[in-house]
Amino acid sequence: MASLTETIRTPSSLGRLSTYLYTRPRLLLLLLLVPPLLWLGIIYLGSLFSLLLQSFFQLDDFTGQVVMKPTIGNYLRLFSATNLSIILRTAGMAAVVTVISAMIAFPLAYYMARYADKRMKALFYVAVMLPLWSNYLVRVYAWKLILAKEGAIHWIFNQLGLGGFLDWILSLPVIEGSSLSTSYLGTMITFVYIWLPYMILPVQAALERVPRSLVEASSDLGAKPGETFRKVILPLAIPGVAAGSIFTFSLTLGDYIIPQLIGSSRPFIGQAVYQFQGTSGDIPMAAAFAMVPIAIMAVYLAIAKRLGAFDAL
């Protein structure tokens, strides 16, 4: 009995602290949340806010100084023919990359979620993630070589006697380029390669959350496999596709390295931002350009929500 009271009376200071916090869960929560909230509030949102602020200033063409007088001049300049074509080019590429990624990712994710056994699934996970472990620049340069006129893909097409077919594709409007590495098609292939893991993983997670019993119930109620897929599996996987598309779409919108290294050398939004803040030192215009992907993403999410992409969440 004596030893019992003794142990209760002499808690360590650490023990006292944990008891103090245990009895005040709100204080504990506050302590845990303050660092990430500071990070998020100051570094994330703060920089975004300063970006927004900058975009309303203007560069004085004569002095090269930023004039801190609010104006929407930069935003009006976004609608000039050159800038508008940059925006449309980037958004179009992002849309195509997203659709192609979804089409490639879905069957893979479906297999991983519903058919692969444990070992096979682990193998696929590694295969999907492996490219992310190596340097992004290295992989882009590798694709530049693969897609080049002297590269592997052109070579394979030529060996198969399909060189003419490839040239025909490359001569199509919009794609037009002398080789894959200098056409939009090459840009798209590289984008899809780089962002595909970000589409596969959320789709796979969404498909895995569809209980087997739902599929069985659908078939029990008379639905053939195709109907079960359309009426049950696909609607429940849509939030995953939406999540993946947010990644592929926004990452493509913001990237400035791939279109610079591979493709028609016509600028994308990222390159425009880079050029305005670097070469011409027009930080306000760069800031205005940087707001474009944010605006596009906001519209994109609003449409996705309206279409019910998140209803099954």
Binding site: S213, A217, S219, D220, L221, A223, P235, D311
Partner: protein, 347 residues
């Protein structure tokens, strides 16, 4: 003749389902009658759920054949079978409303919209959920989801309804209420219900017949009262209700005969030590002396563990009536029972 054939809803002919070396269902043959409330009872892993899944078509027999209303189910996929299932986890489609869930089977069969709507509403009415059609499954309680699952299956008017532990996730009160309702609905629609459960109370209270499964085989198939009063094997006696299993020497000392047998705790009578077996029963009774080791108060009754003078324990159930003799712990007592209540096993 054709009448006799159509009165059988489901036939299992030497059906086995093996997973590698595991014999989930091991050479099982039985028939389920049309309009019957048939329970498949057993511990987990006994093969009862596999049997249900074999009827639904989610699994296929390794050997043997199954027919539903005389039609062989070999190679028939679930969507071509005239049976519907109520799943253990209900398996309601989360992206559809309750009404869409219930009408799913009709939509697949391309029943016209107006009739589809009417029948879905009728089905919801039958399970006392009229007016819930526009809700999502996530907005319903467990008991309500269970009813939606039932309505979704019944709306298709299947010839056989399969229920896979449908009440397992509900709390006790709701479970008892649903037992009564399920039985009433089954009488109303007249469809064969095949009901899988590990709860012997549920099986006893609802079923016309029960098949007790153990290790992939059927131990006994009988109406509830017969199963309880005349279990064929020690397993059935132990699984259905509580039993005192008597083996070997212990059985021989108590009954004068070797061979396993059992006695239900509520069939054992208790008298104060020194009293004899009541004269009216004396010629047909067996008796033994013992000491009350423990008393477990259960409300309506109490459960006594009695250590016998010549070794071994017996469990005794007594109703807590004012007029009955209710011994205390440590008291010496005389136990007796009618010889006919002793249940002897075959083999």
């Amino acid at each position: 003749m054709s009448n006799a054939r159509s009165s059988i809803a489901v036939t299992f002919q030497s059906v086995s389902r093996h997973y590698g070396a595991v014999k989930a269902v091991d050479n099982v043959s039985f028939e389920i009658l049309d309009g019957e409330f048939f329970a498949m009872l057993g511990p987990s892993g006994s093969g009862k759920t596999t049997c249900l899944r074999l009827i639904a078509g989610f699994e296929h027999p390794t050997s043997g054949s199954i027919s539903v209303h005389g039609r062989s189910m070999v190679g028939v996929p679930p969507y071509d079978r005239d049976v519907n299932t109520v799943f253990q986890d209900y398996a309601l489609f989360p992206h559809m409303t309750v009404a869409e869930n219930v009408a799913y089977g009709l939509m697949i069969k391309k029943v016209p919209g107006a009739e589809r709507k009417r029948r879905a509403e009728e089905a919801l009415e039958m399970v006392a959920l009229a007016g819930f059609g526009n809700r999502k499954p996530s907005q319903l309680s467990g008991g309500q989801r269970q009813r939606v699952a039932l309505a979704r299956a019944l709306v298709n008017r299947p010839s056989v309804l399969l229920l896979d532990e449908p009440l397992g996730a509900l709390d006790l009160k709701l479970r008892e209420q649903m037992q009564v309702e399920l039985k009433a609905i089954q009488r109303q629609v007249g469809i064969t219900f095949i009901y899988v459960t590990h709860d012997q109370g549920e099986a006893l209270s609802m079923s016309d017949r029960i098949a007790v499964f153990n290790q992939g085989r059927i131990e006994q198939m009988a109406p509830p009262s017969e199963l309880y009063e005349r279990p064929k094997t020690a397993f059935v006696a132990g699984f259905v209700g509580v039993s005192n299993l008597l083996n070997g020497d212990f059985a021989a000392r108590l009954t004068g005969e070797s061979g396993a047998c059992s006695i239900r705790p509520e069939k054992i009578h208790v008298e104060p030590a020194g009293n004899g077996v009541p004269r009216s029963h004396a010629d047909r009774a067996m008796s033994t002396a013992g000491t009350v080791k423990s008393v477990l108060y259960l409300g309506a009754g109490s459960r006594y563990e009695v250590a016998l003078a010549n070794g071994g324990d017996l469990t005794v159930m007594l109703q807590n009536r004012d007029s009955s003799y209710l011994p205390n712990q440590g008291e010496s007592v005389l136990l007796w029972w009618n010889a006919k209540d002793l249940m002897r096993f075959q083999g």
